[in-house]
């Protein structure tokens, strides 16, 4: 079972995000970066499939700057076999990234192509399905469980109020949602081994997509908070304000 996993380095979900002075980027000072959480489910799934099959290769790919090397090493430490860094300046447009990944993946043999369901920086949720179309492959997004039998995948994907059962023939694309598995932490042995695993680097020129960044701003300010009172006695006053001040009841 051969898998390719596409991953991304993103600010940690607990990071405070401030827009930089240029109004076009975020201020990286004090921001801790980590592998995108959903990508960890994708890597874990690929490793478990390889382990269950008893053979195969797990290749991780990312598009990003030099600092993304660290994220690839983290994936190798979890148990991936080799890594590719496509060095490029990444924008908020998913299409150029999808094209670069598709170009790299085309021609590589694999059974499963995995992604996290969403990168928690641009929140686009678009690259997995875009790549599947660019490569002409079946695809299931937001996957919480996956069975594979005789080259056929049965995935359950999260939808409003339930799950869709999605079936397709391999090779195919999966975008992993929390719940798919329990990602492992890299062991010390894994971290040592990762240093010797192959990490290929190449510069790629991203072709501009159709979206141009006009600017970034912070979130709109919330109204001044009001403490209505303490304990259950404050409830009638709360209900009054919800009815009369903001009219939501």
């Amino acid at each position: 079972m051969n898998s390719i996993v596409c991953i991304k380095r993103v600010p940690d979900s607990e990071a405070r995000i401030r827009v930089a002075a240029d109004g076009r980027s975020i201020d990286p000072s004090g921001v801790k970066f980590d592998m995108n959480e959903y990508d960890k489910y994708a890597i874990e799934e690929a490793i478990q499939r390889r382990e269950a099959a008893g053979d195969g290769q797990v290749t991780v790919i990312t598009v990003g700057g030099d600092e993304a090397r660290e994220t690839l090493r983290q994936a190798l430490a979890m148990g991936a076999d080799d890594a590719v860094l496509l060095r490029a300046d990444v924008s908020l447009d998913g299409l150029p990234i999808a094209r670069a990944l598709a170009d790299e993946i085309r021609g590589r043999p694999f059974d499963l192509l995995l992604f996290g369901k969403q990168a928690i920086d641009d929140d686009g949720m678009q690259v997995p399905a875009m790549v599947s179309e660019l490569l002409g492959l079946p695809c299931a997004t937001v996957v919480v469980s996956l069975q594979i039998e005789n080259g056929r995948a049965i995935a359950r994907r999260e939808i409003e109020g339930g799950h869709e059962v999605v079936e397709f023939e391999l090779p195919g694309v999966i975008a992993a949602q929390k719940g798919l598995n329990e990602p492992r932490y890299p062991s010390l042995k894994g971290i040592m081994a990762a240093k010797k695993k192959p990490l290929e680097e190449k510069d790629v020129a991203l072709v501009d997509g159709g979206l141009e960044l006009v600017g970034l701003t912070g979130p709109p300010a919330r109204p001044e908070p009001q403490i209505v009172g303490e304990g259950a006695e404050a409830v009638p006053e709360l209900v009054r304000r919800l009815r009369q001040e903001v009219k939501v009841l």
């Binding site: 002409g136 869709e164 979206l211 303490e230 209900v239």
Partner: protein, 328 residues
Amino acid sequence: MADVIAYAEMRDGTLRPVARETVSAARVLADELGGNVVAVALGGPGSADAARELAGYGADRILTAENEAFANYDPDSAVRAIESIAGDMSPVAIVFPASAQGKDLSARVAGRLDRSLASEVTEFDVEDGSIVVTRPVYAGKAYARLRFRETPALISLRPNVFPVVKKQGAGVAEALDLEPGEVRTRVSGIEGGSRERLDVREADVVVAGGRGMQAPEHWKMLDDLVDALGPQATLGASRAVVDAGWRPHGEQVGQTGKVVSPSLYFAIGISGAIQHLAGMQTANVIVAVNKDPEAPIFSVANYGIVGDAFEVVPRLTEEIRTLRDSGG
């Protein structure tokens, strides 16, 4: 022509609520651009009739494909349909709901047409003839304004943000010549589908519980509050209680769960980690109940009650029931 295609999402041959939002928003965009709204609806038996309703939200043409095979989402056929319609009429924009289905489909269409997609858009405008959108990034810790420099502009709209507006369109209904073709990805069924509660992203009122609820069996109390608030209300949860296995992941609100924008959000026993605040701070009105007066949740709440959820919530449920019973 400056036409706008609106993808009208259906399930089981009926329109999903987001379909009305999508068509209403497409109407606004088409009016700014001086074009028509073309609604596309694929569904099972009864769907073509059901889709006619979209004329009342501004659809000028309603293109339907009714087939048993489309009762479930059929991504390959839907992509093919939109590709073919877009090829025939060169639309300025194709608008989708940012629902589970809409996000999946919009990204596939973007890949197929090799066009960029702006996801989870919360505002749009036309400036100097080009479409400019605003969308949250970093789960709403920042907002990006983006300009489309080519057409069609592919846009998915965040649910619950754009109003449903009654406005009569020409409403010409046409059946698409679309047979189920080569299917790479087959949706063979829907499971669970407990429709008793709305999805947390589509509900108008969310009652979210956190670690302050102390144990999963205490959710009955929140359930009762949701029931009192009515059918537009649903349950949400903090990451801590989902990670603890008390609540399903589908309910998780936050940067690594769902980002929600209801009219009213109750945060019960949720302290307010940054990643949670990111997921709910676009709610119109936020009410926080927490024992700790220093809890960060109070900094984003319109109204706060400092106190024990086990005392405050039952009282709140009672007050709201009384209000409902008196016809308020």
